[in-house]
Symmetry: C2
Subunit: 196 residues, 2 copies
């Protein structure tokens, strides 16, 4: 019987996660259908079957749900990039694979965003998530530099800013072949310059 509290706590935790997930999913579906301004807490309560009073215990307003949604998306995105990193060989292949996955995600996001990004990108959570992304990419770049696969004359933080900005151009591209060309062009910037 000594295990009861732990099991009970885990059950509560799992239940809370399920409520959060259901709320976020229902909100995402409502935004997709009605746009940002067409979503209310009452509608979310109705669609999830969660009571309004309970819903308000989890989230004070629609905006906080949207933030949680965006955080979850960034988390999933980062986890995807970590998987790509771990499945590829150290050095240039890893850098190429990670930057390709990142550019594809940016291109995909570019298609589906509609002012939502603008609003959410200002939040502190999102700023922290972007900081994680920069650190992650910088680690991959430092790793590639350590194998001698890329130029050594530019600091890793500057190469990180360069490639994240360059690949942001993917948001304007709809053709996967164009995204591939953008990644190749950006990667060419990592090669040793013969004019320096």
């Amino acid at each position: 019987m000594g295990d009861m509290p732990r099991i009970w706590n885990e059950t509560i935790e799992a239940h809370r996660d399920a409520v959060r997930e259901a709320t976020i999913n229902a909100t995402a579906a409502l935004v997709a259908k009605h746009g940002l301004t067409g979503v209310t807490m009452s509608q979310i309560a109705k669609d999830t079957g969660i009571g309004r009073a309970t819903l308000y215990k989890y989230f004070p307003d629609v905006e906080s749900i949207l933030h949680a949604w965006h955080e979850r998306q960034i988390d999933q995105h980062l986890r995807g990039l970590v998987e790509v990193r771990d499945q590829t060989a150290q050095g240039f292949p890893r850098l190429e694979a990670v930057l390709t996955a990142y550019a594809q995600a940016v291109a995909h996001r570019g298609e589906h965003d509609n002012n939502l990004g603008d609003m959410l990108h200002r939040s502190e959570h999102v700023a922290a998530a972007h900081q994680h992304l920069r650190e992650f990419i910088q680690e991959v770049i430092t790793g590639a530099a350590a194998t001698g696969a890329i130029r050594q004359d530019i600091p890793a933080d500057e190469l990180t800013a360069y490639c994240l900005h360059a690949l942001a151009a993917a948001a304007t591209l709809h053709d996967p072949a164009a995204v591939h060309r953008l990644v190749q062009t950006t990667l060419a910037g990592f090669r040793t310059s013969d004019r320096e």
Copy 2:
């Protein structure tokens, strides 16, 4: 006496330009001193010595003056880039000089912007000015491609999006040497890839 209307019209035109310039300059100075929210039409009228009634004939509100200011800055910026283009040899040197001037302007703007950019970047005039910038850069890239100085395997519009996005990273750089390195990294992306 047949020239009178023309001279008179030119005088009026010059006077109008002077009023517009004085208004824009005074507004820019007030924003620098008090921030965006601390600027009123009355204060602008007082600082310029232009009557309030006259001022309202030129601009309906502070925001329209700020837009005129931003347009003027973009115009000056583009004229500067055109000068750089015309003073450099066709091909890679011209591309390098123009992209360097652009990156320096972005770095300079990055230091001085304070939310003003966010507000103004949404205007139609600014969208048109950005379109001019893209067209201008694309022409320079097409010119460099025609001399065989850069890779031919990526369409010029994609190279334009690539380099304008990459050089936007200059807004986060304060060190001129770092801006130079960013331009060199970005230019390396224009060289023929040996992995394609």
